[in-house]
């Protein structure tokens, strides 16, 4: 699926930037170091926004587009920060036939966030996941570490209220 660009404002700190510069310096001159640099950068920031990619581009002399190409290619890299409330709706086969498509649509409407992205205030992240192995509870979704199963769209308001 096409990766969604973020609408969340960058809140990087000076300390994070210093750590990033150290990471880049450590890998400077090593061939094929872009993957570890990006992985470590994501550990520092939690995701890889344009501000971070620009620093990496400038310090490594790599075109920004090449870095963006890598980040948008690999599933392990995130363009959006994880929100305080991370909602993952299972779209595995069992959940899907039990109506998880309707669940995700309802959440999209309610929170104004597309799957794969985070609300501009950084609060909610919505993700569509593959089978999470809880087919017996289908349709299922998780919010942070909580699991909710056998849902209908009518249940959503009550559940989401707890995280508002």
């Amino acid at each position: 699926m096409k990766k969604k660009l973020t609408t969340v404002q960058f809140r990087g700190t000076k300390e994070q930037e210093e750590k990033l510069l150290e990471v880049i310096a450590k890998h400077q001159g090593t061939k094929g170091a872009m993957m570890p640099i990006l992985q470590e950068a994501q550990e520092i920031y939690g995701y890889l926004p344009i501000e971070v990619q620009k620093i990496i581009a400038e310090k490594t002399g790599t075109p920004l587009e090449e870095i963006f190409g890598i980040v948008s290619f690999y599933a392990q890299f995130a363009l959006n920060p994880k929100g305080d409330v991370s909602i993952a709706v299972c779209l595995g086969t069992a959940c899907y036939v039990k109506g998880s498509g309707d669940l995700i649509k309802k959440i999209e409407e309610k929170l104004g966030v597309e799957p794969g992205s985070t609300t501009p205030d950084g609060k909610y992240t919505l993700e569509a996941t593959r089978c999470i192995g809880a087919c017996g509870l289908a349709p299922v979704l998780t919010i942070n570490n909580d699991v909710y199963g056998r849902l209908t769209t009518a249940d959503l308001d009550g559940i989401l209220e707890k995280y508002m």
Binding site: I50, T62, E65, G69, F73
Partner: protein, 578 residues
């Protein structure tokens, strides 16, 4: 050269040891179709059109990246190979917008040709087709990803050849598309508009922003005086659009075709190339004698100018303040000529026909309006001019030669060679040498700055003055050169830089040549030879001897570098950064 023996289609050949199967086959005069392969810059085996059978190999192999070895047996044209290629073409077509009838590349599209050759069924595979918005944000380049086949030739041209890299593959799988970082529009990147991506594209996914309708509208408007001037290099290339072999000089037919299109004046930009030399050589000598900023760097190539502004803003003071020949022409036309003929500059529509897509950006720059209106109204590429001629029903090949119109009809040999890398340098040296030494040059050729090498350096002793110069073409080479200057490894006073490798003859606005030609024919050298041959045959070979240029100074500008010349013929730059 070490060779190995291989068999291709049952016949034995000696081929270079380190070649690929594709290269070996071509040496044996057997063509294997390719779509993604561009020699030296895009050898990635992605399109899978160059599949061949190799005895003993598991499955078919991609010949563009498969090395030969002793005793290898290759089959390039078996039913199995043909079927695989056909299937791959059908798969490519399944996600390709098949608007071939009106496509700008129709009849010279590499995909279309292969589909015809292989009898491809257009609608073999139905299913989803990705839909993309056309990016026409740039004044020069339009990207239509609906036609893109993801061969990555444009990406290689931008990144590997030009050292820029503002485009690349984003996302993955079925969502993969060529775009810019964070999906911004091309106009919002550091793209320099050189157009090398366009000439690399095998299909109609990249093309120049077409400005020909504006010209036809102006010609049809009786209140407009519409004039056109032809850049030095396009007479060496436009013939290719009409079936002539690369390297054919068609100046006379080109002039005749321009006249048949209905322009009120058809002029030779070689003349303002000479004018550029008068101003630039004067600027060089002034900087050398009066402690000005050195090295002086040429400013004719608008792709290079934008590159400098983005990537080397610390060098913008080194740029010559001279406008490019195109802009000088428009400026002189709307001031000197308008005054002479009693025309209102607002009623003049001035067109330049150039080998360049970056010139479309240049016409809209600040400081390019000598008469209070833009010096040049529209800049069209060689390809657009050819399309106008075709659309107008003009039988180009059958035209009798005609000559440019006065008073801008004379260009010197020095102006002619502007279209090849090293040409501006040589032209400037022909003038600077005579001014410094105060006598006529006996030998006009400065051979060290000729040829298609990416970077050239030379030193000349002109009287008491030792002049050290450097020439680079292609922005990746410009980068190397400027880094050497910055590091103090290269000490020169004068540098010529052209954004396109080989100079204007290989510009991003030049006629398309398919990969099979680009990979096997030295286009840059062939096209440049037209210009050097023209120069060699001319009596008038120095800008400073051009009577039409001298008339401009006598009647209007005063002397080179005068206040008036500065007002009309010079410009300024901005530090854009990244």
């Amino acid at each position: 050269m070490e060779t190995v023996k291989i068999k291709i289609n049952g016949r034995e050949y000696d081929v270079p040891k380190n070649s690929t199967v594709l290269e070996a086959a071509r040496a044996a005069k057997i063509d294997i179709p390719t779509l993604c392969y561009l020699k030296d810059i895009n050898e990635i085996g992605a399109c899978r059109l160059c599949l061949v059978e190799v005895k003993g190999a598991r499955g078919l192999v991609t010949s563009c990246v498969y090395p030969v070895n002793e005793g290898m047996e290759v089959f390039t044209n078996t039913p199995k190979v043909q079927q695989a290629r056909k299937l791959n073409l059908e798969l490519l077509l399944s996600n390709h917008e098949k608007k071939c009838l009106s496509c700008v590349r129709s009849t010279d599209c590499e995909l279309q040709k292969l589909c015809r050759d292989y009898g491809v069924e257009e609608s073999h595979f139905g299913g989803t087709r990705t839909q993309y918005e056309i990016d026409d944000s740039s004044p020069s380049i339009v990207r239509d990803n609906n036609k893109c086949i993801l061969c990555r030739r444009c990406v290689a041209a931008c990144h590997k050849m030009q050292g820029i890299g503002v485009i690349g593959p984003n996302d993955r799988g079925f969502d993969t598309h060529i775009g810019c970082a964070f999906e911004v529009k091309l106009a919002d990147t550091t793209c320099i508009n050189c157009g090398q991506c366009i000439v690399a594209c095998p299909v109609g996914a990249l093309y120049e922003k077409d400005d020909t309708q504006k010209i036809m509208d102006a010609i049809a408007d009786p209140t407009k005086h519409v004039a056109i001037c032809a850049a030095p290099s396009i007479r060496a290339t436009i013939g290719e659009s009409f079936g002539y072999a690369p390297g054919t000089d068609v100046e006379g037919k080109m002039v005749a075709a321009m006249k048949a299109l209905g322009f009120d004046g058809v002029y030779d930009m070689n003349l303002t190339a000479d004018l550029t030399i008068m101003e630039e050589a004067t600027e060089l000598l002034d900087r050398v004698n009066n402690g000005g900023k050195l090295p002086l760097i040429t400013s004719c190539s608008p792709g290079w100018i934008k590159y400098c502004e983005h990537y080397f803003p610390q060098f913008t003071e080194n740029l010559s303040t001279c406008k490019s020949p195109q802009q000088m022409f428009g400026a002189m036309y709307k001031t000197y000529y308008a005054q002479k003929m009693g025309l209102d500059p607002k009623d003049i529509f001035f067109v330049s026909a150039i080998p360049c897509t970056a010139k479309k950006f240049e016409v809209g720059r600040d400081g390019q309006s000598a008469a209070g209106v833009p010096d040049v109204d529209v800049a069209i590429t060689t390809r657009e001019l050819a399309r106008m001629i075709q659309k107008a029903g003009i039988d180009f090949c059958a035209l009798d030669d005609e000559k440019f119109d006065a008073p801008f009809e004379i260009g010197s040999g020095a102006g002619a060679i502007f279209g090849a890398t090293g040409g501006v340098m040589e032209a400037a040296l022909r003038m600077a040498a005579e001014v410094i030494m105060g006598k006529k040059l006996e030998k006009l050729e400065f051979e060290d700055v000729r040829g298609i090498a990416g970077i050239k350096t030379a030193a000349y002793k002109l009287g008491d003055l030792k002049v050290k110069v450097a020439v680079a073409s292609g922005t990746a080479n410009a980068k190397k050169l400027l880094e050497a200057v910055e590091a103090g490894e290269l000490d020169v006073q004068f540098i010529e830089i052209m954004a396109c490798p080989g100079g204007c003859v290989n510009g991003g606005g030049q006629p398309y040549q398919p990969a099979v030609v680009r990979n096997n024919v030295n286009l840059r050298e062939l096209r440049a030879s037209v210009l050097y041959n023209a120069d060699a045959k001319m009596e008038l070979r120095k800008s400073q001897d051009n009577p039409a240029v001298n008339r401009l100074y006598e009647e209007f500008l005063g002397k080179p570098g005068s206040h008036k010349a500065h007002e009309l013929l010079h410009t300024h730059y901005v530090k854009r950064g990244m």
